[in-house]
Every structure is written in structure tokens, then in C-alpha cells.
């Protein structure tokens, strides 16, 4: 596929986004090198909740957000936890976050997320089939649980949004819930079935298979730290510790770490990290077909290939602070309220850094400063969900095709 005239392209970041972009660009005839300082798929793409969460595009910042913020600071058990020590560094991000919660902005941001989510399942299915791992994707969706009518009403905002954009869902009563998932506690009296929110049995396999095919077709994988860039009128290379790799194009998709790289190019972006936790329970003692979320308790449970994965809650404490596994203990406690028979004996705990932009909308864009540089980051809690769609759109954008979606909402110079 590669020819002597083909452009040389470097993709920085081998999470699910970078792996999918490298794979896509290679298909489009580019000579691609994929660089990561760690093994592919070992960051946020490893420990996510394994969900193609097509209905979860609601911007985090909403008009109702303002009154919740004091709780985030004070309550260490709240759904979002802001480390008081980290707060001073968060202030510029928070100002933008609050600006994104204006009603007029929220509607626009919802539409930008919906435009990706409405095609993400089909794009994911197509990509998984193409790389021969379609069996990894479940046929069943996700159940959103409510203990009572007031919990359901509190989640109305989300359901109204699904109505506005025409996403499928079905409201279930207690009997229907028990038929679908007998393990769910009787406390739950109502649920919304989200049929398109599928589970990926092992999200790590997705990255692994993409990289395996990429390498098999002549792609180069390098484990190295990117320390700088070479550029004149446009980008000409990527600097590693002791060498320079020549490049016609550079794609920066290093998740939460992308802002450190873009800063080296004089193009800062307001990227923070939502630290996410999970607990992988190898012998849960129960079986589930659907993933579940319980909005009032802010956790998610996904049935994966290696047992049951429990996660949820967001912690804002930057890239350097040590994990605080009290966060994952807390979500497991809540998950056991929903699943009383869940046994938590053999388990592992994990923390990773999701890339969070203040308006919840990813950056998928050409650099506004350096020709030949592109960015794909800020996918928040939807990295796995957006990966196939993002790779397709970035492939079109980078190779000069007509992007099959309006890319203006995802530009880097919007901030």
C-alpha cells in the first residue's frame, strides 16, 4: 500500500483514538508511525467502562450545574469530586466550563455531541467487523435505573434530550426489569432501556487488534517520549529523546496528555483530566446481559469478558496526583445496592485519565497555527464510543477529503 510518494504521517498516542486513526490513515495510503510512551491501549482506553454509550452526549456543564458545584468541593462521596488542593489550577478551565453551561451554548453543544453519537454505533460495528472482532460487541443495551418516580423525574432532562435528537429508548416497569435482569434489586421500580448502548467485551482487544493489523500492513509502532517538534512553514518532524523523525503530517491524540504536546507547538488548549476509576470483579457470582447505570447513584456496571466492571464518578485532581482508591470502593458499595448478590472477593482496581474539555465536545481539527498538525482529543467519557467515527472523520479531514460531518464544532480555535 505504501509507495515512495506517500506522505509520512506520525500519530502520537496509541489509545483507542490514536490506534483507530493510524489504522484509518494507513488504509488511505499514508506511511504511518504510531508513537506512545507506553504500550498501546494501556491508558484510559484500557480501563474505560467498555460501553458504546451513544446516549451519553449530554454536556457535563448545564444550567443546573451551578447549584451542584459546592457539593463537588465539599462531598468526597459525590458523583464529581474536585480535589481542593487542585482547585486553584482548575480555575481557568472552570470559567470556560461555566460559560459552556449557558442555555444557548448547551443546545449547540448537545447537537455537536449528537451528530457524532447518532452514527457511532454503526461506525463501530463496521470497524469491528472489518477488523474481525464483531463478536466483541454485545447485542444488548444498557438499563438506566430509578428507585422511584422522583429519581426518574430528576433524569428527565436526559430523556427529553434523547427525544429531541430521536434516539431510541424504552421505559420499563418493575416486572419488565426483572425479566431482563433478575439480579437487579426490588428497590428499582423503573428503568429506561437504551438498546443502542452496547458493551464491548474487552475494550483492550479493540486497540490490540487495530495495532496488530496496522503493524501487519507495514505500520511502525514506536515506544518513545515525544519531546518536541521540528517545523518551518509547516510541520517537518517529531523530536524524540535522541532523534528526529521526519514527518509530513503529525496527529496528536495523546488523550489527557495532548495539551502538554500542543503547548510545545504554541497552541495551548484547555484540556483537563477527568480521573476515572473502575473495579474489575473476576468472580462476581452473578451474570448480567445488560450494562446498568443508576443516575441517582452515579455509577455504571458493565458485563465484560473477564467478569463485571464497576465504575463511575469523576475526580478532578490533575495528571500527577496518586490514585485515591476510596473512589472505587465507593462505587462498588453503590453497585451492591443495585445488585445485592454481587460478590466482591477477587478484584483489581484501576485509575486512568480521561481527556476533558470544558464544553464536553472533542477537538477533532487541523491545527490553527501549524499546517500539517492535527488534533484528536478531549473525547471525555466517550473515547471508545467515538473512536471509529473520529478515525473516519479525521481520515477524511487529513487526506483532504470531504468530511462526512460538519467539523466546525470540533475546531481547536473555538476556545
Amino acid at each position: 500500500m505504501s509507495t515512495s510518494t506517500a506522505k509520512t504521517t506520525i500519530v502520537v498516542g496509541a489509545g483507542v483514538i490514536g490506534a483507530a486513526i493510524a489504522y484509518d490513515l494507513q488504509k488511505r495510503g499514508r506511511n504511518v508511525t504510531l508513537i506512545d510512551r507506553d504500550a498501546p491501549g494501556s491508558g484510559a482506553s484500557f480501563g474505560n467502562m467498555a460501553s458504546i454509550a451513544v446516549t451519553e452526549f449530554m454536556p457535563v456543564a448545564r444550567p443546573s450545574t451551578w447549584k451542584q458545584i459546592p457539593g463537588w468541593m465539599m462531598d468526597p462521596e459525590g458523583p464529581i469530586r474536585v480535589s481542593p488542593r487542585y482547585m486553584p489550577r482548575l480555575i481557568p478551565w472552570f470559567i470556560r466550563f461555566l460559560a459552556a453551561s449557558r442555555p444557548s451554548a448547551v443546545r449547540r453543544l448537545e447537537a455537536a455531541g449528537a451528530a457524532l453519537c447518532e452514527r457511532s454505533l454503526a461506525d463501530t460495528q463496521a470497524l469491528m467487523a472489518e477488523i474481525g472482532i464483531e463478536e466483541q460487541l454485545s447485542q444488548t443495551g444498557c438499563l438506566s435505573l430509578y428507585a422511584n418516580e422522583s429519581e426518574f423525574q430528576a433524569d428527565r432532562e436526559r430523556i427529553d434530550m434523547l427525544d429531541r435528537f430521536g434516539f431510541d429508548y424504552e421505559v420499563l416497569d418493575a416486572a419488565a426489569i426483572r425479566t431482563l435482569e433478575p439480579e437487579i434489586t426490588n428497590q428499582i421500580t423503573k428503568a429506561v432501556l437504551l438498546p443502542d448502548n452496547r458493551t464491548v467485551a474487552d475494550p483492550y482487544k479493540f486497540v490490540e487488534r487495530l495495532v496488530e493489523l496496522f503493524k501487519g500492513r507495514g505500520g511502525v509502532l514506536r515506544q518513545a517520549d515525544v519531546t518536541g517538534f521540528e517545523r518551518g512553514e509547516r510541520i517537518t518532524g517529531v523530536r524524540l529523546d535522541s532523534e528526529v523523525l521526519r514527518a509530513d503530517e503529525v496527529i496528536l491524540c495523546a488523550g489527557a496528555f495532548t495539551a502538554r504536546l500542543s503547548k510545545l507547538l504554541g497552541e495551548p488548549m484547555p484540556l483537563e483530566t477527568e480521573r476515572g476509576y473502575h473495579t474489575q470483579i473476576m468472580a462476581p457470582g452473578i451474570e448480567m446481559a445488560h450494562s446498568i447505570i443508576w443516575p441517582a447513584k452515579a455509577f455504571m456496571v458493565s458485563p465484560t469478558a473477564d467478569g463485571i466492571r464497576v465504575g463511575g464518578t469523576v475526580e478532578m485532581a490533575g495528571l500527577d496526583a496518586a490514585p485515591d482508591y476510596r473512589r472505587s470502593k465507593l462505587t462498588v458499595r453503590r453497585a451492591r445496592e443495585a445488585l445485592p448478590n454481587l460478590q466482591v472477593e477477587e478484584f483489581t482496581e484501576w485509575m486512568g485519565h480521561r481527556p476533558a474539555l470544558p464544553d464536553t465536545i472533542p477537538v477533532m481539527s487541523a491545527s490553527a497555527k501549524t499546517p500539517g498538525v492535527f488534533y484528536a482529543t478531549g473525547h471525555g467519557h466517550l473515547g471508545l464510543t467515538y473512536a471509529a467515527t473520529c478515525a473516519h472523520l479525521m481520515g477524511e479531514l487529513i487526506t483532504g477529503g470531504r468530511p462526512s460531518a460538519d467539523m466546525s464544532p470540533y475546531r481547536i480555535d473555538r476556545f
Binding site: 430521536g166 481539527s365 487541523a366 479531514l397 483532504g400 477529503g401 470531504r402 468530511p403 462526512s404 460531518a405 460538519d406 467539523m407 466546525s408 464544532p409 470540533y410 475546531r411
Partner: protein, 296 residues
């Protein structure tokens, strides 16, 4: 979405090439289509007014539709112009198109008779009832002598077979109004070439584009830049295109388009009578406007 077919990108409103004997020149046609495909068009709209359907026999119209259909790939949108002065004839032409494999037709109000809005609604309903096709409305009142009113669009807004409107009135306010009133119901299609970028801004995701016959690369690039979110570059390109687009809109549209095709090195012959050749001065003016575009 309440329409059957999603339209996107640049779809040339194709000229029909004629040879020196005034017969359809399919060799030239084939080269032209290949060139458009290489430039990145997304579909084909044969036998509109740019295709001089008015000058063709039924057999010629059939042959053009068949030729384009045979050329088209499965992922390219096909929309046939099946206009005629009377409802009965529109149905006949639409049946022919459907028989060849066109699932979408572009229909202006029948010319000359100036039907009322009620008559026009009846006209479109009859065609839709007789032939199983999707309809793209075509608004060009200066040419047709009849409006496509909001009352008419209200009537068809919830009909999934009425998929869009090619708005060629040149009135930007109408584009804004259509985009606001019928979002998700009737797709706004750019048909006012000298304000094409404004149409994109107001949500026109597709462009049934006459000028692409002589500047396909530039038209596709404008559409691509807008989609890529690069508004500054799109604006710069629109400035470059504007003079030529505006000269086209000022009269002798098809004659100038065909001359433009000659300028880009793919001659398609002259227009059929009553349309005649351009004057020397008209050619010079259009050539000057085309030069920066052809240099791209």
C-alpha cells in the same frame, strides 16, 4: 429526520454536450463525468435546465438518463430532471426516469402556465401518486414564473418523499426561512451559486451546482473547506469564485457554462436554439473571471 434520502456535497446540474451536428456527444459527456468524479462530486443531476432538456426529444432525454445511470456508482446520488409543461407529460418523463433507475426527481413548477399554489400542490401530489419517486422541489421563479410558496412546503413538510428544495431564487432570506421552518423535514439545497457559502452557513448540506460543469474542483473545494470547519479559507475561495458565479447568474447561464467547459479544456459544444453563442465581449468578461479559478 422525516425525509427518505439524505443529500450532501456537490452534485453537478449536468450540461448535455452536443457535437458539431448538434447531436448528443456521449464521448465528451463521459470524459466530463469522469473529471467530475475525480474532483469529488457526490451525485448526478442530468436533464435540468442546464442540461437543456427543453431542446431534447423524449428519446434523447431517455438516452441521457441511461448514460448517466450507467456511469454512476452505487454510492452516488441520482436525481433526474423530468420537467415538462403539463402534469401528464411530467408523469411520463418521471416514469421513464424511474424505469431507468432514478429514485429521485427534480421538479420545477411547470413553466408558461403560471399555476396557482393550489394547482401546484395538486400537480406534485399527482406525480407522487403516479410514480414511486422522491421529489426535490426546484424554486427558480424568475425562470418558471411561479413560486414554491411556504404554504406549499407546509403541505409537504411531513411527507418523507419530498426530500428537499433546490433554492435558486437568489433570495438569501428565503434560504434562512426554509432552513428555520423545515429543519429535518425538507433539506435546503444550494442553488444560488454566487451565495453558495451563505447557503452552507444556513445549513444547506448539498449543492445542485451548474457552475461545477466548468469549475468542479473549486466547487468541491469550497464545500470541503466548509465541512472541514475552515471558514477563513472558505471565505477566501468564495471571493475568488464570486465574480465568475455572479456573471453566470446575470444571464446566458448555460451558454457561459458551456464556454467555461471549453476554457477548462473539455469542450461540450454550443447550446441548442433558441440559445445562441456568446458575443466576443461576453466571452472576454467571463474568461477574465475564470482565469484565477482555472489557475487553482
Amino acid at each position: 429526520m422525516s425525509y427518505n434520502v439524505k443529500l450532501s456535497g456537490v452534485m453537478p446540474a449536468l450540461v448535455t454536450p452536443f457535437d458539431a451536428d448538434n447531436n448528443i456527444d456521449f464521448d465528451a459527456f463521459g470524459k466530463l463525468l469522469q473529471h467530475f468524479r475525480d474532483c469529488g462530486v457526490t451525485g448526478w443531476v442530468p436533464n435540468g435546465s442546464t442540461g437543456e432538456y427543453f431542446s431534447q426529444t423524449t428519446e434523447e432525454r431517455r438516452a441521457v438518463l441511461q448514460f448517466v445511470k450507467d456511469f454512476a456508482n452505487d454510492d452516488e446520488i441520482l436525481i433526474a430532471g423530468t420537467n415538462a409543461p403539463a402534469t401528464r407529460e411530467v408523469i411520463e418523463q418521471t416514469q421513464i426516469a424511474k424505469g431507468i433507475g432514478y429514485d429521485n426527481v427534480l421538479l420545477a413548477p411547470p413553466f408558461y402556465t403560471r399555476p396557482t399554489q393550489d394547482e401546484l400542490i395538486k400537480h406534485y401530489e399527482t406525480v407522487l401518486a403516479e410514480v414511486d419517486v422522491n421529489l426535490v422541489l426546484y424554486s427558480y421563479p424568475a425562470k418558471d414564473g411561479a413560486d414554491i410558496s411556504f404554504e406549499l412546503m407546509d403541505h409537504f413538510a411531513d411527507n418523507p418523499r419530498v426530500i428537499g428544495i433546490k433554492e435558486s431564487s437568489g433570495v438569501l432570506q428565503r434560504a434562512i426561512d426554509i432552513a428555520s421552518r423545515y429543519e429535518g423535514k425538507i433539506q435546503l439545497i444550494s442553488g444560488s451559486d454566487d451565495i453558495a457559502l451563505d447557503f452552507m452557513f444556513w445549513g444547506a448540506e448539498s449543492w445542485i451546482c451548474g457552475p461545477s460543469n466548468c469549475m468542479a474542483k473549486a466547487c468541491c473545494e469550497l464545500d470541503r473547506l466548509y465541512q472541514a470547519g475552515d471558514l477563513t479559507a472558505a471565505k477566501d475561495l468564495m471571493k475568488k469564485l464570486y465574480r465568475a458565479m455572479n456573471i453566470l447568474e446575470s444571464g446566458k447561464f448555460v451558454q457561459k457554462i458551456k464556454y467555461g467547459a471549453e476554457l477548462q479544456g473539455m469542450p461540450v459544444g454550443e447550446c441548442r436554439a433558441p440559445l445562441g453563442p456568446l458575443t466576443v465581449a461576453e466571452k472576454a468578461e467571463f474568461k477574465a473571471a475564470m482565469e484565477p479559478i482555472l489557475a487553482m
